[in-house]
């Protein structure tokens, strides 16, 4: 199969998955016991008010019509309206998304670098004390709730040592402007990048300091799987002939391990990054809540306390779509890098 036809087949497979996902979320919100509009008011509300409320959200129509409205709306980028103030949810989603993206990117870096490094060290020192401790660390990191680790980090580095801020995303009152061209600012919403584009080192140092603890918490909790993957890959590769040949040529052990053996683990690591993306977003919901990080996850948790079911629906759909798209991209990238997958 050529790369082109693989991509087409893969995209076609994504469509039913997205439809299923959208239907799931719709069913969860509308069909599970409890009408979302009445649940929103918690206590009894007079029928007239409830009906007017439903009308405003289009929830008075029969379910199949609501379903069609919902799909057509999503197709146009409309994620529904908030039950709180009838504002479009998409607006909130797009303004909160860069914060989540920045956290996710930085956590991914920490997760992969930490995991691959520890995994490589463990694989190289197979069956030693060092190997065992790294494996135990890997399993334990999996068992730690990310918000507990976050709280411990806040306690130690935020409150006792005061090295990093205990929560939030930026020093109050400061916003990085991004790239300025003739009086107009082009900001990405990623504060580290925007501070760099603006060329403001003070803002950059703030942005990094606020980003450190949340990404460290999320990255550490998810690094275990990369330790295991790299380690087992390393053990296999180190027994292969080309490694023996590299050693025989008199290359340094360090070069053999990191330059030759580790390179072989690149593809599985890439695949795992795609698979872990869903876990990363789920972890981001908890991490953002712990660190008052103003991203999508925190918006979701915020909406839960307001019983704002239409907003919850919008955010959940958005999370699902992002994961589907990322796994699509990773699969295509993988097929490009490893032609065997297309067979």
């Amino acid at each position: 199969m050529s790369l082109k036809s693989y991509i087409i087949a893969r995209v076609l497979l994504t469509i039913p998955m997205i439809m299923l996902l959208l239907t799931f979320v719709f069913l969860i919100i509308r069909v599970l016991p409890g009408d979302p509009a009445s649940l929103h008011f918690e206590k009894n509300v007079d029928p007239a008010t409830l009906l007017a409320f439903k009308k405003q959200l289009g929830m008075d129509k029969p379910l199949p019509i609501q379903y069609v409205d919902y799909l057509v709306g999503l197709f146009h980028g409309d994620f529904g309206r908030s039950m709180q103030d009838f504002s479009p949810v998409s607006q909130q989603i797009f303004s909160a998304f860069p914060a989540t993206l920045e956290l996710a990117l930085c956590s991914t870096i920490i997760m992969v670098v930490l995991g691959v490094f520890l995994g490589a060290v463990a694989g190289r020192s197979y069956n030693t004390m060092r190997d065992h401790s790294i494996r135990i660390f890997g399993i334990t990191s999996y068992a730690i709730p990310v918000f507990f680790l976050g709280e411990v980090l806040i306690m130690v580095f935020g409150i006792y040592l005061r090295w990093f801020p205990a929560g939030g995303r930026m020093y109050p009152g400061i916003t990085p402007l991004g790239l300025s061209i003739g009086g107009t600012h082009y900001a990405t919403g990623l504060y580290v990048l925007d501070s760099l584009l603006e060329g403001n080192l003070e803002k950059l140092s703030y942005a990094i300091r606020y980003l450190t603890l949340p990404s460290l918490a999320l990255g550490t909790v998810l690094c275990g799987i990369f330790i295991r993957l790299t380690r087992s890959n390393m053990l296999e590769t180190l027994q292969l002939d080309f490694v023996a040949a590299a050693r025989a040529r008199g290359l340094k052990e360090r070069t053999v391990v990191y330059g030759y053996a580790l390179r072989n683990a690149f593809l599985p690591i890439l695949t795992m990054m795609g698979l872990q993306f869903a876990a990363l977003l789920a972890g981001a919901v908890l991490t953002e809540t712990t660190f008052s990080w103003p991203g999508l996850g925190r918006y979701l948790v915020d909406r839960i306390s307001f019983r704002d079911y239409t907003a919850i629906q919008g955010v959940v759909v958005f999370f699902g779509l992002i994961v589907t798209i990322v796994s699509l991209v990773v699969d295509i990238l993988y097929a490009y890098l490893d032609p065997r997958i297309r067979l």
Partner: protein, 294 residues
């Protein structure tokens, strides 16, 4: 034969296997350590009403936010509740939610996985598609959506968690059934006229059970972490239940006052319980599918 005698015999028969565990390398040790942690916590939870020094939900049993002292060994929280009593009693909810969700997963995931992959064709394709789309979803986010609609409660929490993890069971069962159903003995059984149900239950299921046990054990850890996560986002149980997740949630607001003991001990308990189940599950799956010892 009296009942005691029967149990005595079973125990005697199991003894050599337990002794052998430590010789089975890391997998054996993982099972031993994980099993010990889980059993100790289970015993603590069962005995909680008798060994808690105070009522875990009574407020003002001590001064507010008192650090660990001889009278309150793990300190007190902002409501003056004794943390030691809360730590001892808080596991009950975790065990209830995780056991219930694993049972639901087994009841739903195992039959669907067996039947769909044995049937093959359209049934298999459709159920795989549905399971894969759930599997691809960020688990906690899906559980949040369901739990938000179902409302608080142990059963509702367990159901929301179960929906997320059913695909894990489906996938592992499917991958095994696809190989097993091609084996000659299955053909033989069918040729002798065994019905689909008989073939599945008597011939295929027994070969899948070990992997199901391993997945279910690891699933306990996932369920515990997800339950704690649901509580953390405000979808947990009411204040009137001692719950490690609740302590972690409200403890966050007390961090600035330096009250580390309010989060430290419940947090460690969650880690310990999840770690126990993870070790147990990892060990079991290693033991049941002995690959090259790595």
């Amino acid at each position: 034969m009296s009942e005691d005698e029967t149990y005595g015999r079973i125990f005697l028969r199991l003894l050599p296997r337990i002794r052998g565990l430590s010789k089975r390398g890391l997998a054996g040790w993982a099972i031993l350590v994980g099993g010990t942690i889980v059993s100790l916590l289970a015993i603590m939870t069962v005995l909680a009403p008798w060994i808690s020094p105070y009522d875990p939900i009574a407020i003002n049993v001590g001064p507010l936010l008192s650090p660990p002292s001889s009278q309150y060994p793990l300190g007190t929280n902002h409501l003056g509740q004794d943390m030691l009593s809360r730590v001892i009693s808080g596991g009950a909810i975790m065990f209830q939610v995780s056991i219930l969700s694993v049972i639901v997963c087994l009841l739903v995931g195992v039959p669907i996985g067996l039947f769909a992959s044995f049937k093959g064709g359209f049934t298999d394709k459709m159920s795989s598609l549905v399971m894969d789309s759930i599997y691809a979803f960020p688990g906690l986010v899906l559980a949040i959506a369901i739990a938000a609609m179902l409302g608080p409660g142990v059963v509702n929490m367990a159901l929301s968690i179960a929906v997320v993890y059913v695909p894990s069971y489906f996938r592992i069962i499917r991958s095994q059934v696809l190989t097993i159903k091609e084996l000659p003995y299955v053909d033989a059984a069918r040729m002798m006229g065994a019905k689909t149900r008989t073939t599945l239950v008597s011939y295929i299921l027994p070969n899948v059970v070990p992997s199901i046990v391993a997945v279910a054990t690891i699933n306990f850890a996932d369920a515990i972490l997800t339950a704690a996560g649901l509580t953390f986002v405000g979808l947990g149980l009411s204040v009137s239940t001692p719950d490690w997740g609740w302590d972690l949630t409200y403890g966050r607001r007390l961090l600035t006052s330096g009250a580390w003991w309010v989060i430290a001990f419940p947090g460690l308990m969650v880690v310990l319980l999840a770690l126990g189940f993870t070790l147990l599950g990892e060990g079991l799956s290693e033991l049941f599918s002995p690959r090259l010892e790595k």
